[in-house]
Amino acid sequence: MAELRFEAVSKSFGDLTAVRELTLTLADGEFLVLLGPTGAGKTTTLRLAAGLERPDSGRVFIGGRDVTDWPPAARDVAFIFQTFSLYPHLDVRDNLAFPLRAPARRLGEAEIRRRVEAVAELLGIADKLANWATQLSGGEMQRVAIGRALVREPRLFLMDEPLSSLDAKLRETLRIELKRIQRDLGATILYVTHDQIEATTMADRIGVLEGGELLQLAPPREVYDRPAEVRVARRLGSPAINLLPAALVPELVPASGVARIGIRPEDITLGTGAFRARVRQIEPLGADTVVLLEFRDTGLHALTTGRDGLQTGQQLAFDLARDRLLSFDERGHLLTSTGTG
């Protein structure tokens, strides 16, 4: 496996700047997730790493070597896409072996067999090797697609929303498997998604992208607890963070220059406290309940574990975990001298 490094990489398509001055190092063995909405520049970043796009400026390094001018095939990276394309006329074994039979590889059949079986074991599809690709479920197909990348033993994996075409339960299973495989192999993975759950559950570090710009790069907990700016704070968390104008809650404003106060829904405690609100809506999610409060003519979401006695329309007291509040300035940047301290 190898390190991947972008140095001030930019890429435009006509008037549209897809990636702007991106500097980023993906450490050897790291699982890095780029999170952002459609059009953030996630896929372009992957394609730049793969050599499917050439940067307008800046350099790309893999394993310490400048590969900016290298063609895709020479980079020895594996690209896994959202839609998995298997060869329908081949069984699972031959699908997995296919990349190894390329003439340039010159691998013996015994070695191919060894690698295919090891990967099938790792992915839990050892009993499916003789099945036709068309006989597999969606989850098995995506496992084979991942397996086909693994057998090559590339230096780097690039994954473009590989789980997004699967149903929720399957995504849950494959998230855990993918993380386990990455850990077992020490694989270096650059993974892009718009799904915050995939990012927070798998990533060693998350890079939050928007409009071609890297807004923050940090471990999931840090991105969640100390978002560098409002755009990042909104990107993670469900329900989303409450952002109140400072003028609405002067008693919570720690210093001048604060424009907005961010409150995570789980940091609101219902039932006691100095604040009063009206319950506008109650949404049970199973383990948790989202309560939409009407507070000083603004909506405020609280996340609680029970809904004991809560009624729509009732007035109630609530409190805030004051050490968890976030202060943002006029430009939306986190004020670090205040807030959680």
């Binding site: 929720a168 850990r183 799904d195 759950i197 559950t201 949404e283 999610l285 383990a287």
Partner: protein, 362 residues
């Protein structure tokens, strides 16, 4: 407003039974969700209520009136497919007014109703804006306004939020439920997304192979699933289902999970084997417990975390506040909240426990 009743309704397509002898009552003014995986019959059921499909058998009643033979257009029900299709060349006011104008409603009445519904959805300041200028959320609100402005007897919605991303879906669930609280029109809503169902529904009918597997409030389905199908379908991550042996201890049944006795847990009588169901948030770390496994994954979800533990019992998930420090490779002891355990038989049907039966009897 309108109550909807289905009596013995079946629908067969060339030998395939999509809906199988369904009896269902949608109470007047309720938000009623048909929930299930693809192919469970939920959309076919909705289309029969709308009059877009004819039942092979059975009757459909709106407010007691048999409408089984009535064409879709005469049932006065609004069918909402997807919420985002607006007319881009019209402003917000004209978009919302469109269903009324096309029905020939008088101009003054149209204006009044458009403003009323815009106020309800907090978009009255946008009435003269062009659609192209609106944010995504405002567009959805306009689409909603257009769906409700003609005040049909009931709303039928088929995965209207299916194409939206997660954050948006969350927002629109809240808007839809808020709107329902305002106008109180009977709504039948089809989805395969259990979170959407939980967030919005008064009642959920979980469907499986053309039948209703369980009908209840979100809380009932979540805490007292009557089958393993419902236990798995509702909740994310799903309920843990663990195969146990049931032994006798001085005449009382005791559950044994992977060789570990669980004396504090009420167990079902009259069976040697049963499946224990426990939600991830009702699994606790207990270092005195003999039930142990190895942490396979710690999934950080912001407010909460989900920990996957692998042991002789298989895989088990627990959900905990994000402050709990567990790492890959740890071997925690595990315990279950006794009041939260549910039991299922070999067919996946729920079982009463000896203690619960006594409580019910006494």
């Amino acid at each position: 407003m309108t109550a909807i009743r289905l009596e013995g309704v079946s629908k067969r397509f060339a030998g395939f039974t999509a809906v199988d002898a369904l009896d269902l009552t949608v109470p007047d003014g309720s938000f009623f969700v048909l929930l299930g995986p693809s192919g469970c019959g939920k959309t076919t059921t909705l289309r029969m209520i709308a009059g877009l499909e004819m039942p092979s058998e059975g009757r459909i009643l709106l407010d007691g009136e048999d409408v089984t033979e009535l064409r879709a257009g005469r049932r006065d029900i609004a069918f909402v497919f997807q919420l985002f299709a607006l007319y881009p060349h019209m402003n917000v006011r004209r978009n919302i007014a469109y269903p009324l104008r096309s029905r020939g409603v008088a101009r003054a009445e149209t204006a009044r109703r458009v403003e009323e519904v815009a106020r309800m959805l907090r978009i009255e300041h946008l009435l003269d804006a062009r659609i192209g200028r609106l944010s995504g959320g405002d567009r959805q609100r306009v689409a909603l306004a257009r769906a409700v402005v003609r005040r049909p007897r009931a709303f039928l919605m088929d995965e209207p939020l299916g194409t939206l991303d997660a954050a948006f879906r969350e927002l629109m669930c809240e808007e839809l439920r808020g709107l329902h609280d305002c106008i109180g029109a009977t709504t039948v809503y089809v989805t395969h997304d259990q979170i959407e169902a939980m967030r919005m529904a008064d009642l959920i009918a979980v469907m499986n192979r053309g039948r209703v597997e369980q009908l209840g409030t979100p809380e009932e389905l979540y805490h007292r699933p009557r089958s393993t199908f419902v236990a798995r379908f509702i909740g994310s991550p799903a309920m843990n289902l663990l195969a146990c042996r049931i032994e006798q201890d001085a005449g009382d049944p005791v559950a044994v999970l992977a060789g570990v006795r669980l004396p504090g847990i009420p167990a079902p009588a009259g069976t040697a084997e049963a499946t224990l169901g426990i939600r991830p948030e009702h699994v606790r770390i207990d270092e005195t417990s003999a039930l142990r496994g190895e942490v396979l994954a710690v999934e950080y979800l912001g407010a909460r975390q989900v920990v996957t533990v692998e042991g002789p019992f298989g895989l088990l998930k627990l959900r905990a506040p994000n402050r709990l420090a567990l790492a890959f490779g740890d071997r925690p002891g595990l315990a279950f909240d006794p009041g939260r355990v549910v039991w299922f038989d070999a067919d996946g049907r729920s079982l009463a426990t000896a203690r619960r039966r006594e409580a019910a009897g006494g």
